[in-house]
Symmetry: C2
Subunit: 156 residues, 2 copies
DNA sequence: CCGTTATCTTGACTCATTCCAGAAAACCTG
DNA sequence: CAGGTTTTCTGGAATGAGTCAAGATAACGG
């Protein structure tokens, strides 16, 4: 079973495939994330509690850590933000993050499969991952900040 | 005065150039960082206290934040690690981080000046920075982990 | 040298996350 | 499908990195 295959399974079978026990909190977390990628632990906890009505915060963190270790989830940690999680683990894709509203979106590799995985000079390091975060403003915030600036300019 | 020029000035003159007051904690932090790039706030505090014998932790954070805002310093925050600071701010270079010992080194842009600053599809985001972190093992840790594995294989 | 204003000190506090010990539940086994 | 093992979950305390706030101190501009 390769990673690509794993992603197509139901949460229940994904857990079985990596030898993890099937529990309600795990199913709920995986299910929530498949519909709400890039959620924080807090948002996931809120979503999971909507349908399980009682899950400890610690359980959420345990589930996220166990699934990340088992490669069912991927954790991203944009500078200055709490960690976010996603179910898309099969490829080394990257992220766009809005500096204003924190909206986070996927972007495919810039150059073929592993972009930039060969830096100009690796100084002897043995690399296993190239993590790329593009920072900027999402279309909504870009529009808003422009109109805000406009407003400020007018009122000065 | 452009950014390249700033970098060549003494700390005292860098501060003056951006209109900040010259204080002992600021001089000590800038001086320490020019000799110890990629230090954490804690390491910087320790270094600064060696020659100032009394600086509050809050002062260290204030200095780091003020200088980062003024672009005299750049802050990098590798996932799962406390923030690190460096004086090299004139270019958009990237970093190698060792997963084992946290050693952090600079690498130049992979492709020309702003590598990857154009993702395949920016989804309408207006980007201002492409942050790249290469994760792996530094030469020392790679050597050590290889000999460790060897040892394990032998002992099994 | 003085006044203004930025900076520093001290100490409380937040946030995201982890650690711990015991209770509960999932899986294997017969 | 009951019993035993082992993993996972609960509840509560604790951690690390960093921020907030109020008053004391010290840079700079005149």
């Amino acid at each position: 079973m390769n990673d690509q295959g794993l992603a197509r399974l139901e949460p229940r079978d994904q857990l079985r495939a990596v030898g993890m026990r099937v529990t309600a909190p795990r199913l709920a977390v995986l299910d929530w994330l498949s519909n709400h990628p890039h959620s924080t632990a807090e948002a996931i906890a809120a979503g999971v509690r909507e349908r399980l009505d009682s899950v400890s915060t610690q359980a959420i963190y345990d589930v996220l850590n166990a699934c990340t270790r088992a490669k069912l989830l991927r954790r991203i940690e944009p500078a200055g933000h709490p960690a976010r999680f996603e179910t898309r683990t099969a490829d080394n894709h990257h992220h766009l993050v809005c500096r204003m509203c924190d909206r986070t979106e996927d972007v495919d590799c810039v150059v073929g499969f592993a972009p930039c995985l060969e830096p100009s000079n690796a100084l002897g390091f043995i690399l296993d991952e190239a993590e790329v975060v593009f920072w900027g403003l999402c279309p909504v915030c870009a529009g808003r900040s422009q109109s805000t600036n406009h407003h400020i300019e007018e009122s000065v």
